[in-house]
């Protein structure tokens, strides 16, 4: 099992100012805790499932930038059709990471369907992704990251994580989040 906060910290260390879209639920808490001062972080406070779609739109609009999506298993299960759209549009600059702890952690740890039979990597392949991987150790995560951050995608990376809590909380104002993020993108 991978510690999600540790993996998020490591990911951010490998990046400069590439935009990151962090799903509602715990991905945004991890990202803020790992890189509070980083301006190119987009924190979602709701619209569960939309991280993949926002990432796709941004990747298509800004082909010059690598776009990272930090998603959760519960969130992507709510917007599975977006995988078919991502795979069809296939922007080479999109890296879609799905933290899979097989539970709705933020609501008390109720199991998701990845706790049973669902396999997100297989679903992504079925949706049309050629480049889809699953890792379950930090060493494997680091190794894969050194590839997917530099080679053309789009990539799906399912990372099996634990359910530790990150203490940080991003700004509550959606407009503050948006403006800071757009400013970072304009400067880059």
């Amino acid at each position: 099992m991978i510690n999600r906060l540790k993996a998020t910290r490591y990911l951010v260390e490998q990046l400069s100012d590439e935009p990151i879209i962090a799903s509602c639920g715990n991905p945004k808490f991890d990202l803020f805790t790992a890189a509070e001062k980083r301006k190119a972080n987009f924190y979602m406070w709701n619209s569960m499932g939309m991280a993949s779609s926002i990432g796709l739109g941004l990747a298509v609009a800004r082909p010059d930038r690598k776009v990272i999506v930090l998603d959760g298993d519960g969130a992507i299960l709510m917007n599975l059709n977006s995988l078919t759209t991502e795979a069809s549009k296939a922007p080479a600059n999109l890296v879609h990471i799905i933290w899979d702890n097989a539970q709705y952690q933020i609501t008390g740890g109720q199991p998701t369907h990845t706790d049973g039979k669902a396999d997100i990597e297989a679903i992504a392949r079925g949706a049309g992704f050629k480049l889809a991987l699953t890792v379950s150790t930090f060493a494997a995560f680091k190794k894969v990251l050194s590839k997917i951050l530099f080679q053309p995608g789009p990539w799906i990376l399912v990372a099996k994580t634990d359910s530790s809590d990150a203490p940080g909380r991003p700004p509550k104002s959606p407009v503050v989040i948006k403006n800071r993020f757009m400013e970072a993108l304009r400067e880059a």
Partner: protein, 169 residues
Amino acid sequence: MEWPRKIVSLLKANDIASISFVPDTVIGRILKAAEKDPYFRFTTLAREEEGIGIITGEYLGGRRGVLMMQGAGLGNCVNALASLAIPYQIPFLMLISQRGELGEFNACHIVMGKALRRILESLGIQHYSVNREEELETVLGGAIKTAYTSEQPVAVILTTALVGWKDEK
């Protein structure tokens, strides 16, 4: 100029190059008018809600998008509008073809047809209807401008009076 071509020319005049859509026959006519112009980029959506996310991402990246869908699709978009586009102040045009009003043959379109404007109003989304071709410039052009001024999504409804109804017995 026929209404599909007029709509396409108004999109282009307002720098809207990206079209995300779930088709119906009305949207299909607009797509046909747009596809000849390499200016436009198209994204086929599997579900309308995705379009709210995609257009948000495009806007964050500095590109304007339009969401084209049938009225039924608004039902699939409600939470993404309420919890993403509206609070984050993401402006865009929703171009909605209406079913369930004049000349409807299908009972399963009536309820969403009646609910359409009230859903938009419940969400606080400004909406305008186009009944005649000659209204397009004012209503569609004006709605786009209002969306970007208010930094909010705005809906334009293409009514049966404009586009006709499906003639099924």
